[in-house]
């Protein structure tokens, strides 16, 4: 080998050695949530109130219960990027995607949650707490902030900590929860519990497909928008509620020990079949006051022996469902589900 070749080889190996040393850390490891909401890109020129038009509003048709908060949501998709829809039930958002969700109680902005796909293997979670004037929102501590709004005597809304964000959004494969084909369907359920009106400028499966933001294209989502197939409107609405409120954990992913039917939005489309499975599923969690071995996830015609309903009614820490993110029970949903269980045939 010539001298020049040896020099070249030495230089190349030196570069390799340095590269190998640094390859274990990613440049995105240094990224973190900005200290102020105004610096996350939500607002035009960083002015709270003026939403940057590149951020698209959207509204899931089966919203998560958040103690009656009014919620407003936006998504940002980097220019030129597309949503990976190879698995139509599990969209993968492009790197750079950002989500925001603003919580308002009694007309006052309280918090805005921020979810940012900073790299292929890293989502950043953050929550910003608004000041009393609603003029600025600052990053909450990782552990959250307790009791920021009193909902009822002795009950208050807490700003979640990062651990709670990950508990719902997932730790291994985190991502958004209300941004999927069923939730963004144009075939909106008129009976959805706490259903929100959809505005003309909101993102739906149709707008995403029209703008060629799906990869691969999903024309079937426009031709036949996702819909929970059910024999009656009440079953459709109840299954939609379960998808929006229970499906992030009870979904057969193996993250929790759960052997009931998956309630993930993409898995409840055969609504009658999922309802039948829930109504046939015995549970080891006994409904208080019911004899051992007689509790079901949902029991036909027997709301009093239906564990899911009992846990929805509870706001005691060891039994309430969902177990986090809510301090008030959802009475409207409880009434609707109780009525639906009663209506199911024995």
């Amino acid at each position: 080998m010539t001298t020049r070749a040896v020099r070249t080889a030495t230089a190349a190996l030196a570069i390799l050695w340095i590269a190998a040393l640094h390859a274990g850390s990613s440049a995105t490891d240094d990224l973190c949530a900005p200290a102020r909401l105004r610096d996350t890109g939500l607002y035009l020129d960083g002015r709270p109130g003026a939403i940057d038009p590149r951020n698209r509003p959207f509204s899931p048709q089966y919203p998560l219960w958040s103690d009656g908060a009014r919620k407003t949501r936006w998504v940002y998709l980097p220019p030129g990027s597309t949503i990976d829809t190879r698995d139509p039930r599990d969209w993968q958002m492009p790197v750079g995607t950002k989500f925001w969700k603003e919580f308002t109680f009694g007309g006052r902005k309280v918090e805005t949650r921020f979810l940012w796909r900073a790299s292929a293997d890293r989502w950043i979670f953050a929550t910003y707490v608004w000041n009393e004037e609603g003029s600025d929102a600052l990053l909450a501590p990782d552990t959250g902030v307790p009791a920021v709004v009193e909902l009822a005597p002795g009950r208050s809304h807490d700003i979640p900590g990062i651990a709670d964000c990950r508990a719902c959004h997932g730790d291994k494969r985190p991502g958004p929860l209300g941004f999927n084909a069923l939730q963004l369907s144009t075939d909106r359920d008129p009976n959805a519990i706490h259903g929100e009106p959809i505005a003309f400028d909101m993102t739906t499966v149709a707008t995403l497909e029209r703008e060629r933001l799906f990869s691969p294209a999903r024309p079937e989502l426009v031709a036949t928008p996702p819909r929970i197939a059910a024999g009656d409107p009440a079953t459709r609405a109840v299954l939609g509620y379960f998808a929006g409120n229970c499906g992030s954990c009870h979904n057969g992913s193996g993250e929790i020990a759960y052997d009931g039917p998956s309630l993930k939005p993409g898995d409840v489309l055969d609504g009658d079949a999922v309802a039948a499975a829930l109504l046939a599923k015995a549970t080891t969690w006994q409904v208080p006051g019911q004899p051992d071995g007689t509790s079901f996830m949902l029991k036909r015609a027997h709301p009093e022996a239906s564990a899911m309903l009992a846990r929805m009614k509870s706001r005691r820490p060891a039994s309430q469902m969902p177990p986090l993110g809510t301090a008030m029970r959802d009475d409207e949903a409880i009434a609707a589900i109780e009525q639906w269980i009663t209506s199911t045939r024995r």
Partner: protein, 202 residues
């Protein structure tokens, strides 16, 4: 010509090694391969040590009375509150005494209600047999059942276990999973009465 060829060869090799380094660095943790039997054995041994020294037996192994006083009954090691020991309602809290414990040291009453220590053996139905390593670690990291559910109740010192690194938690889990499974259905926690201020928002 010969020199150019040598340089090109070196550069190609360099690129190949560089790509390999990058790919290896980008590989998700745990993708390096299955745990070897030796590694698993080491984890079980380490886990046994941690379980012993971190006082897991104090609450998860029922106590019995012996000639020198109460001590953990190791014939029921880590099986949690015995299903055949039915606890009566706890006495009311009085003054600065806010809690009570069962003679087995496996049931505790306090402002949160009554908690019963879990069966940590790998029985599928009544213990940790259906749990995964990820669930166990998530529980200790979040203080929530399986990382997503209800909060772990007192007196479980989950904040102490949270201080362990992942390898230690994997070791504890490996040891617990190596135990013989014992069927012992521990009662669900008994919750304190809902706070009077629980009037629901209309």
């Amino acid at each position: 010509m010969k020199r150019t060829h040598a340089t090109t060869t070196v550069m190609v090799l360099a690129m190949a090694v560089f790509s390999g380094a990058l790919l290896r660095a980008k590989a998700p943790a745990g993708q390096d391969g299955a745990v070897t039997p030796d590694k698993q054995k080491a984890r079980v041994e380490r886990g046994a040590h941690l379980v012993k020294t971190m006082a897991c037996h104090d609450c998860h192994t029922p106590w019995t009375m012996g000639p020198t006083g109460p001590h953990p009954d190791m014939t029921r090691a880590l099986t949690g509150h015995p299903s055949d020991v039915v606890m009566p309602p706890p006495p009311p809290a009085s003054g600065p005494w806010i809690g009570h414990m069962a003679a087995t040291n496996t049931a505790w009453a306090g402002p949160w209600g009554v908690s019963f220590t879990a069966n940590l053996t790998p029985d599928k139905e009544t213990g940790l047999g259906a749990w995964t390593e990820d669930m166990f670690i998530a529980t200790m990291r979040t203080g929530r059942h399986q990382g997503k559910g209800r909060r772990i109740l007192p007196p479980m010192p989950v904040q102490i276990l949270n201080a362990l690194d992942d390898e230690d938690l994997k070791s504890v889990f490996a040891y617990l999973q190596s135990l013989p499974p014992v069927k012992n259905k521990v009662p669900a926690p008994i919750e304190a009465a809902e706070p009077p201020a629980a009037a629901e928002k209309k």
